[in-house]
Assembly symmetry: C2
Homo-oligomer: 153 residues x 2
């Protein structure tokens, strides 16, 4: 493929909206940033949900699922934060103004999530079922605490 054709081609094949071509070249538009960070939250739900169900005894424990999902979550937990750009303040979303007004606390919550998920990866490789479930619970608490402070009900 002619490399000079690749970029416009990519914009066509990958584009998920009018904001896409811009997002490749520079700061993404606010609506694109919101869509991207919400996409991460959707996928965190997809991969954490079954683990929460295991930790609470609502689903059978399956260590292979925990390991796979923890690995995905380890990546996903690092993806949302650049989407909370101050430029997105005016966009429709459930993010409360506190995200931007109390950025230090928000950033601390983000780091805590990354760290607790990273621990879940480690524990799921070496730990016993009780330890894994306890770490799943720890991750769930971090999700909940941040949503309580920074997300509209």
């Amino acid at each position: 493929m002619n490399k000079k054709l690749l970029f416009p081609c990519l914009a066509l094949v990958l584009g998920s909206g009018a904001g896409y071509a811009t997002s490749v070249m520079a700061q993404a538009k606010p609506d694109v940033l919101v869509k991207q960070r919400q996409a991460v939250m959707t996928l965190q739900g997809k991969y954490f949900g079954p683990l929460g169900a295991m930790a609470s005894g609502k689903a059978a424990y399956n260590v292979e699922t925990v390991r796979r999902n923890a690995g995905f979550l380890d990546n996903l937990s690092r993806m949302p934060w650049d989407g909370f750009d101050p430029n997105t303040k005016g966009e429709k979303s459930r993010a409360l103004p506190a995200v931007f007004e109390n950025k230090a606390k928000f950033d601390a919550g983000a780091s805590t999530l990354e760290n607790e998920v990273s621990k879940l990866v480690s524990v799921s490789r070496s730990g016993d079922e009780a330890a894994v479930k306890a770490q799943i619970t720890a991750v769930g608490k971090v999700c909940g605490a941040c949503h309580n402070d920074f997300r509209a009900k």
Copy 2:
């Protein structure tokens, strides 16, 4: 936290719609599956877009960005496929009937994407700029080929 309280709590804090509680316990509802697979595509765009721009000379080459994004894409490329469940045929999306009617070809495309992204991870760690850009181009071709066959214009 009382573990018996964790599941309902998770449903509240993580839920992204009425279908969520169901998705934790069993097969997710079709609309949730579509939302989840579209979320993956959105994020693949987020992390592949800048690489495409580098490969085509529209953005400055930055190997650290390539490595980070390739790592994210290596995970993301394994996330969409269970969302293309036959139960989602009736949902509004750009997925063409060919996804379900030509499943062997679709699955082959999925595997090819995973493999080419995995190669990008390797090449970005060890290869030179030209090799990395060539592999970015290879990944872009796989995206485009599959979208041509299986996604509405």
